[in-house]
């Protein structure tokens, strides 16, 4: 069949085939539901992240806490601050992703989304690595206070350093797994646009 015939068919249907009007009530309900959906999804992802960090922190705190003294209360406060900082960073990254407006041209929109995904990925990675850096610092400091510059301290420093390096690579892998699919799709569209 000739493309011209199909094009004419399309144009005829464009003129005649108009779906029923949206009613005000339906629109309001739709906007409300969609807004809630977006928020719910962001909250779900943040809750999942918070669970990971809380589990790791719980292990750390249990290993280090010595009764319910001043030191452990200080540690709890530090833990709460650290977790709060991580969550604010991730929340900001999620907000940037969810709030991207799609009203610019396709090229600009895709480029902005790629940049937002990269920023979100960086935020996730930084939060993760900072967590390990802080945890490593706390552990090495405690060992130093307790044992001074002993061989044990050197071992702990090496272990903490190793853990930080590992956190960088595992964090990168996690972030890649999280965003790689979307990013690749967007980049593929950008390449299609650039193709002459």
């Amino acid at each position: 069949m000739e493309l011209d015939i199909l094009e004419e068919c399309w144009r005829k249907s464009s003129r005649e085939d108009t779906p029923p009007e949206l009613q005000a009530g339906t629109l309001i309900q739709l906007l409300r539901d969609k807004t809630q959906d977006v928020r719910r999804d962001a909250r779900r992802r943040l809750r999942r992240e918070a669970t990971y960090y809380l589990s790791m922190l719980a292990v750390l705190v249990m290993g280090l806490a010595d009764g319910l003294g001043f030191k452990s209360l200080l540690m709890m406060g530090g833990v709460a601050l650290l977790l709060g900082g991580i969550m604010v960073t991730l929340w900001h990254a999620e907000r940037r992703l969810a709030n991207a407006t799609l009203a610019r041209n396709v090229r600009e929109t895709l480029a902005e989304l790629v940049s937002n995904l990269d920023a979100a990925g960086r935020a996730y990675l930084v939060a993760y690595v900072v967590f390990f850096v802080v945890a490593g610092s706390v552990v090495t400091s405690l060992v130093w206070f307790q044992y001074g510059f002993a061989l044990r301290f050197l071992g702990v420093v090496l272990l903490a350093g190793g853990a930080i390096i590992w956190s960088y690579w595992s964090g990168r892998a996690y972030v890649e797994q999280m965003f790689r699919g979307n990013r690749a799709e967007l980049e593929s569209c950008l390449r299609q646009l650039d193709l002459q």
Binding site: M1, S14, L27, D41, A103, Q196
Partner: protein
């Protein structure tokens, strides 16, 4: 959420261009359920972008931008749960897929859905008689690139239609 002047103006705008949104949804999705979900996503995005719409571009260009951007990037939201608002406007009666012009139209949509995202956007703008300048504005590419891409895409679409007949 009470109905405001903004909402009334927005509703009028969406209703004036609902056929465009519907066609974009049909080109980017294969099932009525996905179509309805995408329609809702587009209306939501239009609402979020509405405050920044100052009439610098024509309403149809603006609606096209948001609708195409939402459709192309919908992959980001595939995992999200569908909202619960039934929209008759997006549901496609089965009878449309059978017989005469409806069958031709269904064939054309099936072929369009085989194109890649950018080609789909391009061919839809072309079929809706947007000028090269407008298409360039929507996609963010040069007018000469629009011409070159369009020729290639039309040839590809022709092949696809032949193979599908």
């Amino acid at each position: 959420m009470a109905e405001t002047v903004d909402q009334r103006a927005f509703l009028a705008l969406v209703n004036a261009h609902r056929a465009v949104v519907n066609r974009v949804c049909r080109a980017y999705t294969a099932t009525p359920g996905d179509r309805e979900e995408l329609f809702q996503e587009i209306v939501h995005q239009l609402w979020r972008s509405y405050p920044s719409f100052r009439g610098e571009s024509t309403p149809v260009t603006w609606v096209y931008r948001v609708a195409l951007n939402t459709s192309i990037t919908a992959v980001r939201r595939r995992t999200r749960r569908p909202a619960h608002v039934p929209l008759e406007s997006t549901a496609e009666p089965v009878s449309r897929e059978t017989g005469g012009e409806d069958a031709r139209l269904a064939l054309l949509y099936r072929a369009i859905r085989q194109l890649d995202d950018v080609e789909r956007a391009l061919i839809m703008c072309y079929l809706d008689d947007l000028s090269y300048k407008r298409i360039a504005e929507v996609l963010g590419i040069s007018e000469s690139n629009v011409g070159a891409k369009l020729n290639r895409t039309k040839a590809k679409l022709r092949d696809l239609v032949k193979r599908m007949e």
